[in-house]
């Protein structure tokens, strides 16, 4: 039987970063009209491989053929011309420019005297209609929701007539509805003869949407097989190399209330998504999951509990008292543990040493300072203990934090937070972008904290996660919080409808 010509053929791609072998002689084919899922733990080398394919990195050795023709190495321009399109793990959009401008960039020879906006706008609208990716071409990207930005990224590739689309963790920040919309778009595209490479840590999605999976481990291609017949657990085992156990949540009777919000409103300048009349009580030994489409006030709720903003009106009681001041320091001393949404931007100071980040919330404590001087020995010892306890992979407490992988960064933050036995924990998207091993670790630690008596507010867009961990679940929409309901009494479908607010068609537009 003669093999049909593959859309893409990678041969023995090898790439080193210093001592690290990020891609080790990887050979991989992509057939026309297939969706290939690329799996692997954090740092396995998936993004690196795709960056080589798209010309961002130059491979140390190996070759690439696209539709039978060799691809010029290290040139995004050549990759685009060959029909490749890439949606990057971190979006590559300019917030201050319009959607149209973001799409148009690089599509015209630079020396033309005109941009040709009118024609481009018409083409963009047509593409949007055809693939169900409608966005306003003249909106500034800053005003778009994450889902809409995702659409712009895909439109960018389609606008360039991409025949092969690479999506690096496209659903990490999407709601279930947005993900579903994305998948139906992908199916339309495959129907049109396009090919897709799809990277994700969400194994349910992988099982649902891909036709084949390829698995990387430590830079090597370790498995390649059809998806048909594989479920989440099988994929997980393929990826990690051993079975991954789901954390178990023991039923516990709720303890005394730790956090009580009564009719809280937060608004004012600088608040993007206000909170309106929010009431919520969270007890010790209890996890309350907050589900919702991003942009509906989660960030403000998190900022409120973190001490970054004060309520405009309403009553905020922590362990039975109203805090004197709404400041991060106040919350920390009162025993609130905070896991921020964005570990790079808010969680850690990348350029400081690991031990410095580990005392960042308590450097004023007697344990770590004397007369204004940092007790460096004590701080380092503290860091060493935490690193061991939380299994952070790093060379030493003095290593620069920036060089850690996302999973290890998250472990640092968990360690910093949980070591103080907080009575209330705010966990805002604690698993974004982590592989399933890391996710299991985080879940396990959160559940242990719950058993020790912590009250946990878990904000997440991942309904699987919410359902797996929460005792009660509330849905946030347009700044209002639904009354929490027991986990057992809702289904994913019901939650999805609640998240969309009054009408399901609104999902994805609420920014």
């Amino acid at each position: 039987m003669t093999q049909p010509e593959p859309a893409l053929r990678l041969r023995a791609i090898t790439k080193r970063f210093g001592a690290l072998l990020a891609n080790d002689a990887i050979s991989l084919d992509l057939a026309k009209g297939e969706i290939l899922a690329l799996l692997g733990e954090n740092g396995a080398g998936k993004t690196t491989l795709m960056n080589i394919l798209f010309g961002h990195y130059l491979a140390d050795s190996g070759s690439i053929e696209v539709f039978g023709k060799p691809l010029t190495a290290a040139s995004p321009r050549a990759a685009i011309a060959a029909g490749l399109g890439m949606v990057h793990q971190h979006f590559t959009l300019a917030e201050n420019l319009s959607v149209l401008e973001n799409v148009l960039i690089g599509t015209e020879p630079l020396w033309l005297p005109r941009l040709g906006r009118a024609k481009a706008r018409a083409r963009l609208l047509a593409l949007g209609r055809r693939f169900g990716l409608e966005v306003n071409p003249d909106a500034a990207v800053a005003a778009l929701s994450v889902g809409e930005r995702q659409r712009v990224e895909i439109l960018k590739a389609l606008y360039r007539d991409a025949r092969i689309l690479i999506l690096d963790e496209p659903t990490a920040v999407l709601t279930p509805q947005e993900s579903e919309a994305l998948f139906s778009t992908l199916r339309t595209m495959v129907g049109d003869g396009l090919s897709v490479i799809f990277i994700s840590h969400k194994l349910n999605e992988v099982a649902a949407v891909s036709s084949r999976v390829a698995v990387l481990r430590g830079g090597k291609l370790v498995a390649e097989r059809p998806t048909a017949g594989m479920n989440r657990a099988a994929l997980a085992e393929l990826m990690v190399g051993r079975p991954v156990a789901d954390p178990v949540r023991r039923p516990l009777p709720p303890g005394p209330p730790a956090l009580a919000l009564r009719a809280i409103t937060v608004n004012g300048p600088g608040i993007r998504a206000p909170l309106r009349d929010v009431s919520l009580t969270v007890h010790r030994h209890e996890i309350v999951g907050i589900a919702g489409v991003s942009g509906n006030g989660q960030a403000t709720l998190a900022a409120l509990i973190s001490g970054l903003v004060a309520p405009t009106s309403g009553q905020f009681r922590l362990f039975g008292q109203e805090p004197a001041r709404h400041r991060p320091t106040q919350m920390i001393t009162l025993g609130v543990g905070r896991i921020p949404e964005d570990r790079h931007a808010e969680g850690l100071v990348g350029d400081l040493a690991i031990w410095e980040n580990l005392i960042a919330e308590q450097y004023r404590d007697k344990a770590f300072q004397r007369a204004g001087f940092v007790k460096r020995k004590a701080a380092r010892a503290h860091a060493r203990a935490l690193i061991a306890d939380f299994d952070v992979r790093c060379s030493s407490p003095d290593a620069t934090t920036r060089l850690l992988s996302g999973g290890n960064m998250q472990k640092l933050i968990l360690g910093r937070t949980l070591t103080r036995d907080p009575g209330l924990i705010l966990a805002n998207q604690p698993n974004r972008g982590l592989d399933i091993g890391a996710v299991a670790f985080v879940h396990d630690r959160l559940l242990r904290a719950r058993e020790k008596g912590a009250a946990i507010v878990l904000i997440s867009e991942d309904l699987d996660e919410i359902l797996a961990l929460s005792d009660r679940i509330a849905v946030i929409h347009a700044g209002r919080l639904s009354p929490p309901v027991a986990r057992e009494s809702v289904t994913i479908g019901q939650l999805g409808v609640m998240m969309a607010g009054d009408g399901p068609q609104e999902a994805g537009h609420a920014a």
């Binding site: 960056n51 798209f54 961002h56 990195y57 040139s75 995004p76 321009r77 050549a78 990759a79 685009i80 890439m86 990057h88 971190h90 590559t92 959009l93 300019a94 917030e95 201050n96 420019l97 401008e101 973001n102 148009l104 960039i105 690089g106 599509t107 015209e108 020879p109 630079l110 020396w111 033309l112 005297p113 005109r114 941009l115 960018k156």
Partner: protein, 313 residues
């Protein structure tokens, strides 16, 4: 003369345009650099270099327009240096800018002294003449103002339109704005961030140098040490004041020039008991006040001062 008469006099507005011309060139040049993500603190030195090269080439026998072109080329060369240091090498833009200013300034003085070792009065050239009476002077209202201007002022005004067109209406302008906002995004679409930034810095520096040359070829006829006298630094402030928009940059330059022109006239209006320094301070103080008023609306190029190194996170 009361303020209203003053504001209605053609002389005042002619002065405003003349004072504003080097500022317009400098501000547009800086704006171009900053839109591409490079803060070019070399401006003061590059203007000095332009002033020298323009003047010296005319003094050596070139015609005036050749002098302007050579000044622009010298500016481009300085821009090439500033660009190489900040774009592919990604060095701190503050310190390279100050270094380039020091280098261009001292090099200009050195070259001037080598070329003219024994002068006791500064040698001069025949500069651009004002348009004078002619078609322009017959225009209603602005005729009297324009007649007193020289061709380079017209070039400056045209440059405002040209830069605005470039930035907002052409693919190149979009590329410039994109590398200033999100270089990774431009890079991902096959645009060479290095080339676009280098080009913007060089073109911007050429404009700055022409602004300097205006001082020696139009506003005056000789080269002086210290002649730029902080005009370059003013342009840096004007770019922020203008929120990185060419039209507003023109407005800002005219406003600053208006303060300056009024300041001269008020100072001459008799002894008011106010020290003359207060008048000289006014444009700077008002610039800061203006910045405070408009600060909330200023939208920085997001990648300003952030070097882009391909493949580094």
């Amino acid at each position: 003369m009361d303020l209203l008469d003053l504001l209605l006099s053609a002389g005042l507005w002619a002065t405003v345009l003349r004072i504003a011309t080097p500022l317009i060139f400098g501000t547009l040049g800086e704006l171009l650099c900053e839109r591409a993500g490079v803060l070019n603190l070399g401006i003061e030195g590059i203007m000095t270099l332009g002033a020298l090269v323009g003047w010296l080439s005319v003094y050596q026998g070139c015609d005036l327009w050749t002098g302007v072109m050579l000044a622009a080329c010298a500016g481009m060369a300085a821009g090439l240096l500033q660009g190489l240091l900040t774009v592919p090498l990604g060095l701190s833009q503050h310190v390279t800018g100050i270094g380039v200013t020091l280098l261009c300034t001292s090099l200009s003085y050195y070259v001037y002294r080598l070329a003219l070792p024994q002068t006791t009065t500064p040698p001069s050239i025949a500069p651009f003449a004002p348009f004078g009476d002619g078609a322009l002077a017959d225009l209603p209202v602005i005729g009297g103002v324009l007649a007193q201007q020289t061709p380079l002022t017209m070039v400056a005004l045209c440059a405002v339109v040209a830069i605005a067109w470039l930035l907002y209406r052409t693919p190149l302008g979009l590329a410039i704005r994109m590398v200033g906002e999100n270089p990774a995004a431009a890079d991902a679409q096959g645009i060479s961030v290095t080339a676009v930034r280098m080009g913007a810095v060089m073109a911007g520096s050429a404009l700055m140098a022409v602004g300097g040359a205006f001082l020696t070829l139009s506003a005056f006829n000789a080269f002086f040490f210290n002649m730029i006298g902080g005009r370059g630094w003013i342009c840096i402030a004007l770019v922020v004041f203008a929120s990185w928009r060419p039209g507003k940059a023109l407005f800002g330059a005219l406003l600053f020039a208006l303060f300056d022109a009024l300041q001269t006239r008020l100072q001459q209006g008799g002894d008011s008991g106010i020290p003359y320094q207060v008048y000289l301070m006014a444009p700077y103080v008002l610039s800061i006040v203006a910045l405070v008023v408009m600060s909330r609306r200023a939208a920085y190029p997001q990648a300003l001062m952030i070097p882009f190194r391909k493949g580094e996170r």
